[in-house]
Assembly symmetry: C3
Homo-oligomer: 357 residues x 3
């Protein structure tokens, strides 16, 4: 990982009145660029592809400049020209995935958020330890497949974007579906409705919902993911019917819909967000900026958190002009805009080093 | 029930330039407080719990003051301090449920809307009589279980928030699932898409969609409820498969999604809203403010109303900054804001007594 | 079809500072009137029914005037009074369906968009040729029912608004369900999530996402349709169970929900939109204004376009005050508003003839 000292040196050399906000051209980049422009920043798109013409269609989200690299190695190596532009990068899920976690950790450009969180997010066991030791409820782990006596969710390690999951209804079903050459984990399948809670933790904000380590927690929006093909599979009669026809359920994320949660669940939701943040400070120096708790709410009105994303999620994209939650704090602001606001405020108060790693 | 005369006496003592809007801290309280603040009111949260920290996260919806009671009896008894603050209460579903209908009817604080509607809403038979005699189409009632020869919905009396319902596909299925120690009703199951129509009837508004008794009817928004666990149960293969595994469908409301209805259905929707209001005036002195018709639209494009809620529903929560319908009347206004607008206008025109019981 | 020369003559006689925007009172008319008022136009509703009272409830979308005709023949014949009002009509799906395609083609009032597109849209074979020859991916056609060896979608010709479709899982299922007295087409059933992409092509706009024939392509919003009764059919246990009880799946559109698509799919989406437009210019003089690609995204993240609508779709109705896409171009603008903006700009620059047929 880039030493924090190196990042601080770089920031010392920046003209903080001329910050450029950069991200990879995908995922939630329209929202990030749009928010950055709103807060008066220059914007820069990073890409290895030729498919950026669609930005022309969205003038309020089109980056001021796009740099095309032959690959992510080149992007890493040519960090100098980003530093020349006083660039800070906003990592999103695809940024980290495309560049590769290791390369991202070593990318010598100030990055919004704590890069140390990656190690705890990408390893399922460490993620579970972090959250459960913080008091966040997760689905129960089943360590021995022969003990499956209920419906379970099986996830191959490194499963991304909804691929590499399956639901097994019992042990025989598990046996029939498992590819045992790959490592996997088995957990209780939690039946209920899914809510992806988009939190934002600001270590520099000194009012609002205050947390133990001195910063303020916000809930900016909630979405539900569209998953192909599971969402429409019931049209096949039943999933059993579909399987007999060679059609197997998959969980590939293709989009997002806006949703709100029952208001009486908000206290619990905030408690889970707060616990995730507090424990992150104890374990690895903290987590700040946007993060997402991916939850199921059962018919007992209990939450189960099946995953945490420690940066902006694409589920914030429906809320480019605000949400039923953000509008109670910052009317009309998106998560992308909230990130830019944090960077703007920190550059004014000379606190950029607190936010960048 | 508090005599109307007593409420009017209380209002006579109010300083109408210093009205406080109060509600119980749950359900749609963020929206109610947000709307009240927008219209310039003081706001007051009523609670019996310690879980109100999340209001800190939403500064534009945080009540100016929160009073914590040990229980709802104490809330009733300490009504004096509410009167000292010139308080009017906005009842929502959880307010009435938590306090208890009887206690709510006797709560000596001016309440927005007609409390007499409660008797007609809470009793399934009276509700059905009210609506069907007004010409509102409801699912057919099946009075003798042995006559079940189609898919039916069975509801235990007093079922709340989505608990206490089940779908039976035939008589044997009914026999297997019914708990005959509890009273229940059986009705035709209406297959179709669900629309929860959020109406607002303003008896003091003299333009717009005018109704028989001199007020104006509005449609402010439409939602669909998320229900746990039924919404994701098809992932179990089929519901039959799930039942064999001991997983039974439930209908607990966990959140809401925004939706719009086919425009050609609006004339019928307004007719149903108008009929509900007109009949309410004939039967029990009227219904005003927000109410919700909970409907199914069949593939013949017919409505079936399976329930009416006679106060603000949580389904309005996605629309804190307006909706595709409200924006055609009051851009950016929520149902909570609409309630506050009605109270503001009535306090200016000295008509508060018309709105309060 | 009305000769273009005749339309141009009519436009020559118009007072372009006094244009009236008219449409049939249904479908997306609230949005069209709302958008037209925003851009300063007079508005006129055309109807053959008595059910227009609901417009009173939406003052910002209520047309300035409503003309009631006994039938669509009379509407055609009385075109003179529309010309007297300098009227341009905005055709929507119900307008064309109610009036009848032939009558609509001959209706002597300037109509926004290219009427020639109707011949290519309403004939399934021509529509398929247009799109696939343009490079837009569609579900594979199965020309001989005996070759069904996968799940298929069967559509009767002239199927409208979601009626007249069925899914067959194999040849025996097809045989059991088909009414062979009606003409039909069979296509591969594409499993995935549905996205209805609302594009807008402006031939007069000279910046943004430029297309081959000199105009600019926009994506204004995306919805998913609610379909009755298929959407809630899984509650019956499984569709097989339901069929045994005499309940058959149907696909009648009853409403719409807002949605966003995975950002990495946007380049492909724009390419499909652009290809549809470019090919339209080659085949029949072009397509401009709003159009909708009705797509499925598979779990391979491939698009399949199962239909094109060549005018405003009701799926734009959730977005009366903007959308996550429109807000990146014209904050707060609906498709109805965008149409009115195009007409306003063209009337200022004296280019109305380019937009009207």
């Amino acid at each position: 990982m880039v030493p924090k000292k190196r990042i601080d040196e770089i920031l010392d050399g920046y003209d903080t009145s001329e910050i450029t906000i950069a991200t990879v051209c995908s995922h939630s980049s329209l929202q990030i660029f749009h928010g950055a422009r709103k807060m008066g920043f220059k914007t820069l798109g990073l890409t290895t592809k030729d498919n950026t013409k669609h930005y022309d269609a969205f003038p309020l989200a089109k980056p001021d400049e796009i740099i095309k690299y032959s690959d992510y190695d080149e992007m890493s190596e040519r960090n100098g020209e980003l530093l020349d532009r006083n660039t800070v990068i906003i990592p999103h899920g695809s940024f980290v995935e495309y560049m590769g976690a290791n390369k991202f950790e070593d990318f010598e450009v100030p990055s919004y958020g704590n890069r140390a969180v990656l190690q705890w997010e990408s390893n399922r066991e460490k993620q579970r330890n972090w959250l459960t030791s913080g008091g966040v409820p997760m689905p129960r782990l089943i360590t021995d497949a022969r003990e499956i006596n209920e419906v379970v969710m099986v996830k191959y390690h490194g499963a991304k974007g909804g691929r590499g999951f399956f639901i097994a209804k019992d042990y025989p079903d598990f046996k029939m579906s498992i590819d045992s050459t790959q490592p996997y984990t088995i957990q209780e399948y939690c039946m209920g409705t899914r809510y992806y809670l988009h939190f934002f933790y600001d270590p520099l904000k000194k009012d609002g919902y205050m947390c133990k380590h001195g910063g303020s927690l916000e809930l900016l929006s909630i979405d539900r993911r569209d998953e192909s093909n599971i969402d429409e599979m019931y049209k096949m009669g039943s999933i059993e019917d579909a399987k007999r026809r060679g059609l197997y359920p998959s969980f590939v994320v293709t989009g997002n819909t806006p949703v709100v949660i029952r208001e009486s669940l908000l206290p619990k939701a905030f408690e889970m967000g707060e616990n995730s943040v507090n424990r992150a400070y104890e374990l690895f120096g903290g987590m700040w900026g946007p993060f997402c708790l991916e939850t199921v709410v059962t018919d007992k009105l209990d939450f189960k958190v099946f995953e945490i994303s420690t940066r902006i999620v694409a589920g914030t994209n429906p809320f480019i002009s605000g949400s039923p939650y953000a509008d109670l704090i910052y009317p009309g602001l998106s998560t992308g805009g909230r990130i830019a606001m944090a960077i703007r405020d920190a550059s004014v108060s000379n606190d950029l080093k607190t936010l960048m790693t």
